[in-house]
């Protein structure tokens, strides 16, 4: 499977995702944001980091880059797009995913391993997980507080477009297992065609037992499936 990772000035999880993709046998290419053409890809990843320093609003400036138009075009043609952390923020800024990511409720950067629950495993991104499976995945962000309007929230629920929700060890979704104030504990969402996934947790950090765990592996193997 061919993948492309878009690199913006200030991206800093680009190497990490590339390592994970290659480990999972993707044929990966890095694509610099000034480029105007995307290599042929089955998967486009918009990685985490601080594109443009997170200045103005996280993701806002990257959302205006040249390459983004290509990403949108590919997505419209059905290409899979995965936005992680800052990548999720960028995808919402471009409108590819609805809603916004606000400052964390406690106004602090949060880095920790959190539990998330698989809400919909009937997608290209999650078919190797079980529904309601609890994963332990690292988060690292300032703005992960997902917010959207009531209509869209209803759509997310009705159409089963929520990918992951923050939960506790036992899979219970409640206020105290919500790290950042996110609406309904949402940690990741799909677009209506389910070919775009945006998520705050970092699956690429969870592919190596020596460093963390391997709870992120099945996201990549789902894609290969």
């Amino acid at each position: 499977m061919n993948s492309s990772v878009i690199v913006f000035p200030g991206s800093n999880c680009d190497r990490d995702i590339a390592v994970a993709l290659e480990k999972m046998q993707f044929k990966n290419q890095m694509v610099w944001h000034k480029e105007t053409k995307l290599p042929k890809s089955d998967l486009i990843v918009v990685p985490g980091g601080f594109s443009y320093g997170d200045y103005l609003r996280s993701g806002a400036i990257a959302g205006k880059s040249l390459i983004i138009n290509e990403v949108i075009k590919s997505a419209n043609e059905g290409c899979l797009v995965l936005g992680i952390c800052n990548g999720f923020q960028i995808l919402t800024e471009t409108g590819m995913l609805k809603g916004v990511l606000l400052r964390n409720k406690n106004l602090k950067f949060i880095n920790k391993d959190v539990n998330i629950k698989v809400i919909n495993n009937d997608t290209k991104f999650s078919n190797k997980y079980k529904n309601n499976q609890v994963l332990k995945i690292n988060i690292a962000h300032n703005e992960g507080n997902y917010f959207t309007n009531p209509n869209h929230l209803k759509e997310l629920n009705d159409e089963n477009l929520i990918a992951f929700k923050y939960c506790d060890n036992n899979g219970i979704i409640n206020k105290s297992s919500n790290p950042n104030g996110s609406l309904e504990n949402i940690a990741g969402i799909f677009n209506s065609k389910k070919n775009i996934l945006g998520m705050m947790p970092h699956p690429e950090r969870m592919v190596d037992n020596l460093i963390s765990n391997t709870d992120g592996v099945n996201l990549f193997s789902s894609l290969l499936n």
């Binding site: 999880c13 610099w32 320093g53 602090k108």
Partner: protein
């Protein structure tokens, strides 16, 4: 402008120093030249008070590729890998503007590391605040922590370890020391020494503004009245630009374009150009019209003394300008040839086609003053505490009080604000004795830790200096790493005060002794004097940053208990040294006793043996015993685990407070499977190591027979409340 005594003084120079400048120049300097002298001759750049003492530190060893004298130290970790690291202080700016002060501190030390061709792989910090009750402490804590996180998180380098302490000695002068560690290829290290004539001197990075011109010694009286307003002494960090600068430099470093490279740190363009020329025994000519400026109408004086961040100076090989420029253009950074190397051995500054300043390089470097300041020896206090006379306290109560105190509380509130995982090589995060970072794509890893002990150093600087090196060494040993080398940040008061100077001199003697004995050389460092106000100097606070190597990294060793019913061994002798202990300080508010003694022979023997035991895979967990003594160390091994411990009452030492809270040095706790006990005991006996079998692990409870029994979840809670309630 006429240079009066007042102008000289405003530049932080002594009248005798000014006389000396005139003698060297054989004329009066102009204001620009005076500014340059003041930047180069101040304590920060010239090390005029410390150099004499620093010279004695051991700086060589079989792993040392580059010792002190470059932007950072470099050590060999086998194959073609090298580790580049250094620590630096940013104390004063952080007190004025904690967020930006701390952030730019991180930015500065990162530049020191990637300047040498290393990709930074870890950040550490040592931060000291005043008493939690002091009205400024809370906002300083918040500001500093978010500043450190803000910079490191944005640039994408994990902040993996550090230390945080509170003591009223820092009420008016906090300490913010940042350490950076990078990885380079051994044959691709870049130095600041200029070479060759007529080479292009290139300015890259951010534009120059009026930031931080001359910090404290600014000639305020000589500018117009609103100049004070115009010249903020605190810089704003721009981690985004630094990230671009780092990537651009590392990209350019892939081939052979660079002759020499130097970041613009303190005293900006002045010190970077002088340093390159001085090391290369060359001259340098700069055309100031070319310097990219952020603001209008900047004067040569301002350009030369600005401390704007995120800038570098590079000397390029002939014909490489176009290639280099393209790289910096790709990263949207300024790239301007501002001068060339010359054979005049002078710094020549041109502006408007006129020579505005001309100073022999050696006048700024080798002829800078060096002082042998007066210092007096500290007498060891005789005061002894009679424990029997103190108010009785239950062991359990003392334990809980200490675990819930500011200094001994769990630091997750801080560390969860730092990205510790980015780069995906952090195998052990903060919260452990030392962090472990895997070398990317390799089987080996390094361990890193920073440590200080102002309390011990205040009591007896030499023992304190000795102790802190050992504590740092122990932390690395505890995670199974062979300690290789250290960097040090020496935070002291006013060196013109003979007592402070004495603290400095003696601390260094202690550091030297330990480093020599342990074969643990100093490869880089930084001195920060004048910490204190109103004649109140801070406690002497040397901070040691150590790097160790794990050649075959299979799994991280941490201090949490791993299994049920394994044996707990205490390595090293317990005498029950309670003077200057955490117990006395936290419970009885007594802190004027002697520090514990260091026995370097035992220290080395214990450490080496444990390293061997870890290598042979005979332990489940390891922890060194430090502040708070045995009981705190044991409690730490329980917290965060599902296993606690059942500890026997000591057989010999009868005073339980002494046994459990004593701070005797050179001790470790090992958790050993029953099946491995015999093997481990044999090794310990063969190596002549004193040890005690003090109990075993058990589920759920931390217990000292007949004294206390606490649920470990409860302990964890107690240990985690302080920051959240502060």
């Amino acid at each position: 402008m006429k240079i009066t005594d007042q102008v000289v003084e405003n530049h932080g120079l002594k009248i005798e120093e000014y006389t000396n400048i005139k003698k060297i120049l054989k004329r009066e300097p102009n204001l620009l030249e005076l500014g340059i002298f003041s930047a180069m001759w101040n304590e920060h750049c010239s090390y005029k008070s410390s150099r004499k003492h620093l010279k004695n530190l051991p700086t060589k060893g079989k792993h040392v590729i580059q010792g002190p004298g470059e932007n950072a130290g470099v050590i060999d970790i086998g194959d073609d890998d090298a580790i580049v690291f250094k620590i630096e202080s940013h104390n004063h700016p952080s007190y004025i503007e904690p967020y930006q002060g701390a952030a730019t501190g991180v930015g500065g030390i990162l530049r020191d590391v990637f300047t040498m061709g290393a990709r930074p792989i870890a950040l550490l910090n040592s931060i000291h605040f005043g008493s939690p009750d002091h009205f400024k402490t809370k906002s300083l804590l918040h500001g500093v922590v978010s500043g450190i996180g803000g910079y490191g998180n944005c640039i994408g380098i994990p902040t993996v370890a550090g230390e945080t302490k509170f003591n009223s000695t820092y009420n008016e002068n906090i300490l913010v020391n940042a350490m950076a560690v990078g990885h380079a290829k051994k044959d691709k290290i870049f130095y600041s020494k200029a070479k060759g004539l007529n080479k292009s001197v290139v300015y890259v990075g951010s534009k120059t503004g009026r930031d931080g011109i001359h910090g404290a010694s600014m000639a305020s009286a000589e500018f117009d009245e609103n100049s004070e307003e115009k010249k903020p002494t605190v810089q704003v960090g721009d981690p985004f630009t630094e990230k671009l600068l780092m990537e651009a430099c590392l990209e350019l470093m892939k081939d052979n374009s660079i002759i020499s490279i130097q970041d613009m740190g303190a005293a900006g363009l002045t010190s970077s150009s002088v340093e390159m020329a001085s090391k290369g025994e060359l001259g340098i000519e700069i055309n100031l019209d070319k310097v990219p400026c952020r603001e209008e109408n900047m004067t040569p004086y301002e350009m030369m003394l600005s401390e704007s961040q995120e800038r570098m100076l590079i000397i390029l090989e002939d014909g490489k300008e176009k290639h280099a420029k393209e790289i910096f253009k790709k990263w949207d950074l300024d790239f301007v040839i501002i001068g060339k190397t010359t054979n005049t051995n002078k710094l020549v500054l041109k502006y408007d086609n006129i020579i505005k300043g001309e100073i022999p390089i050696n006048a700024l470097a080798s002829k800078a003053p060096i002082y042998d300041r007066k210092w007096i020896k500290k007498k060891l206090t005789k005061s002894k505490v009679d424990i029997k006379k103190l108010k009785k306290i239950k062991i359990e109560e003392a334990l809980i009080k200490i675990l819930s105190s500011a200094n001994h509380s769990n630091k997750t509130w801080i560390t969860s604000q730092y990205d510790q995982m980015v780069m995906c090589d952090t195998a052990q995060k903060s919260g452990s004795d030392a962090a472990i970072i895997r070398i990317h794509g390799k089987e080996k890893a390094i361990a890193v830790s920073v440590d200080s002990s102002a309390n011990y150093c205040k009591a007896h600087p030499k023992s304190g200096g000795k102790q802190i090196v050992c504590e740092n060494w122990r932390n690395l040993i505890s995670v199974g790493a062979r300690p290789i080398a250290i960097t040090n940040c020496l935070n002291f008061g006013n060196p013109e005060n003979p007592e402070v100077m004495g603290e400095f001199a003696e601390c260094l003697l202690g550091i030297k002794e330990s480093c020599e004995f342990l074969n643990y050389p100093v490869v880089s460092g930084n001195v920060s004097f004048y910490n204190g106000t109103n004649r109140k100097n801070i406690y002497p606070t040397p901070v040691i940053g150590g790097v160790g190597l794990i050649s075959k990294f299979k799994k991280p060793i941490s201090h949490q208990f791993k299994k049920n019913d394994s044996n707990i061994l205490l390595i090293g002798k317990t005498f029950g040294h309670l003077e200057r202990s955490t117990l006395l300080e936290e419970i009885y508010l007594i802190s004027d006793g002697q520090p514990p003694e260091i026995n370097l022979v035992n220290e080395k023997n214990n450490g080496e043996s444990i390293l061997g035991i870890i290598k042979d895979n005979l332990v489940n967990s390891v922890h060194d015993v430090s502040n708070g003594g045995l009981i705190i160390a044991l409690a730490e091994m329980c917290m965060g685990s599902i296993y606690g411990a059942k500890i026997n009452k000591p057989k010999k030492l009868t005073n339980l407070l002494k046994y459990f809270f004593g701070e005797d040095q050179g001790r470790y706790i090992l958790e050993i499977d029953k099946g491995n006990l015999e093997k481990v005991e044999k090794i310990l006996k063969n190596n002549n190591i004193f040890y005690e079998n003090i109990g075993s692990t058990q589920k759920d409870y931390f217990e000292i027979q007949g004294e206390l029994k606490i649920n470990i979840k409860e302990l964890y809670k107690i240990n985690n409340q302080w920051y959240n309630n502060y």
